[in-house]
């Protein structure tokens, strides 16, 4: 029930922000579409039962700025390589262990790896992620496991 209510509130906020309309006809149409969405989510069984997922966006608030800062740093590093006349790249493949037990943690981790230029996650197999790194430095950055630890905090095991 908690999950349904939080989903309803989220949908109402998103609908109001995206439409900006306040006349009764459109509001009731919006309410109808939200109810249909809730019904479909209930039928698909994707509503979280105990309201645990409400916490994820809140924990993202601390993870996201760190990720943005990492993105800016690696972006500058890769841009340097592109503009360098000698093009100092040394691509290699590395396997990174992930400590994430759940699918959500793995998804966030693999997505974050790809989001920072210089590393692309190529395949996820069990708790191992095959990563293509553009040079030694970005690979070493990943091997320290800092990102893995921070993702653990997002999904709640830290």
């Amino acid at each position: 029930m908690k999950g349904i209510i939080s989903l309803f509130i989220t949908l109402v906020v998103i609908w109001l922000l995206l439409s900006g309309h306040t006349n009764p006809l459109l509001l009731s149409l919006g309410l109808a579409s939200i109810l249909v969405t809730l019904y479909i989510d209930h039928r698909m069984d994707v509503v979280d039962k105990d309201g645990q997922r409400v916490k994820y966006p809140l924990r993202m608030v601390t993870y996201f700025p760190w990720l943005v800062w990492e993105m800016v740093k690696t972006n500058i590093a890769v841009a340097r390589m592109i503009l360098d006349p000698k093009m100092p790249i040394s691509p290699n493949l590395i396997t990174v262990k992930t400590s994430q037990p759940g699918d959500l943690g793995k998804t966030i981790y693999a997505n974050s790896i790809t989001l920072t230029p210089g590393t692309v996650s190529m395949s996820v197999d069990g708790d191992e992620i095959l990563v293509h790194a553009i040079d030694k430095e970005t690979a070493d950055d990943l091997m320290t496991g800092e990102m893995d630890r921070r993702v653990s905090c997002v999904v709640g095991e830290c």
């Binding site: 922000l17 900006g20 890769v78 390589m81 592109i82 503009l83 493949l93 693999a110 692309v120």
Partner: protein, 109 residues
């Protein structure tokens, strides 16, 4: 106040545009498919995000800004997914990545 937002938004717009140009330049310079993915990553992440942030600063506090911020978030969610899909299908298609052979201590695959 107008001047501050203008400077801020132009800073983001210009650095985003620069990132897109650098990314496409790298797309042509880099030697193989996998390294080109990294160059395209600059265009995807920093280029697109910086341009959208610059536009939302220009739009001020309005519903348009909310939409622009949502677009930024969705781009940051979907572009790594599509990059991963490309890399994975290339790997399954037996495309061998170009690797640096000397001193490859960390290339244990």
């Amino acid at each position: 106040m107008q001047l501050v937002t203008d400077i801020l938004s132009w800073f983001f717009l210009l650095s985003g545009g620069f990132a897109v140009i650098v990314g496409s330049f790298g797309l042509m310079r880099f030697p193989d498919f996998y390294t080109r993915l990294h160059a395209a990553g600059i265009t995807d992440t920093f280029g697109a995000a910086a341009i959208l942030i610059g536009l939302s600063v220009q739009a001020g506090l309005s519903l348009v800004t909310v939409k622009l911020v949502l677009i930024t978030l969705f781009i940051l969610l979907t572009s790594p997914t599509s990059t991963h899909a490309l890399a994975k299908s290339a790997l399954h298609g037996q495309l061998k990545p170009l690797l640096k052979e000397d001193g490859g201590a960390s290339s244990n695959t």
